[in-house]
Symmetry: C2
Subunit: 187 residues, 2 copies
């Protein structure tokens, strides 16, 4: 499980409250990890129980903002976890299942869905490219080891989105083509 460790990393970069974490996950941190505020609150409480972080409530009672900080035990845990082996999560792309269903059945409206996906990925791509221009390509951008690693992660996001943009376009071409005669190639 990686959510607590994603939270530890984010809190080390900048201590903040639960909702701020959720907002940061929506934005930059979240190219490759996602979490809702419900998950985040539950996990923060668990991590505080483990002694990995400590949270100071600003106001009294419920509704007050808390600021979480990483404790020494949290740093140790993160460091140990970061060196562990873990196989990549198996792919689960429902769009591919839909396409396979179209291949078998025909007559579905996957093309509409491909168009929608194309637009989504184009939007994400533009967003990531804007972040790259602002944070890593501008004059005076930091160029230390940490910045280079963060840039590398962002570049992975950009490349993935670019891949899906190109692939969706190719898929739409294929589906738009006049159905070819079901011939076999000659040897």
């Amino acid at each position: 499980m990686s959510l607590p460790h994603a939270l530890l990393t984010a809190l080390l970069e900048h201590p903040c409250s639960g909702l701020e974490l959720a907002a940061r996950f929506e934005r930059s941190i979240g190219y490759f990890w996602h979490a809702t505020h419900q998950q985040i609150y539950r996990e923060l409480a668990r991590m505080e129980g483990e002694g990995w972080i400590s949270g100071e409530a600003a106001g009294e009672g419920r509704g007050g903002k808390k600021r979480y900080q990483v404790l020494a035990a949290g740093r140790r845990e993160l460091k140990a976890w970061a060196s562990r082996e873990q196989d990549p999560a198996p792919h689960r792309e429902a769009l591919m299942v839909r396409l396979r269903a179209e291949a078998v059945l025909g007559g579905t409206r996957v093309a509409d869905e491909l168009l929608r996906r194309l637009a989504l990925h184009q939007g994400q791509l533009a967003h990531y490219q804007a972040l790259e221009a602002r944070d890593f390509l501008a004059d005076g951008s930091p160029d230390d080891r940490a910045a280079r690693i963060q840039h590398l992660i962002l570049k992975a996001g950009i490349q993935v989105e670019q891949l899906w943009v190109d692939w969706c376009a190719e898929a739409l071409d294929l589906l738009a083509e006049p159905a070819p005669a079901a011939t076999k190639r000659r040897r």
Copy 2:
């Protein structure tokens, strides 16, 4: 949820038993969907209850192989589902969290993990390329609409693996570099 629809598609392509489905998911069907045999059995039972498929037991009692076939209601369900909208699942790449932790803490062994991942993706890539050569590039390969769609899906798998192979190599380069002085670029 897409697992039942992935199963319907697979059963339409070729009716078979639960364990055969699991084996097929390990192989070609599974570039973009994964399921264990436990999940598959549970889902098959549920789908039979819904009247989407019917399973004939070859032998009597427990331990006998069953052959499942898709019923008319199953076809209808699959067709309706294939036309539905669905946003892509959010990314969850623990490796990126590890890299971010390395950027913040330093001193982890992520490089080892990157090497391992590089080898994994190279292996998958070679496997998919072999499938492509065998099923879609050989003389006499079918070239109808269904085959083109299946090829398109395989190409997505190849492109994704290629992306990660290249990206892991770049990441390893970066981590191997002598730490640069923490300078800022001049404007």
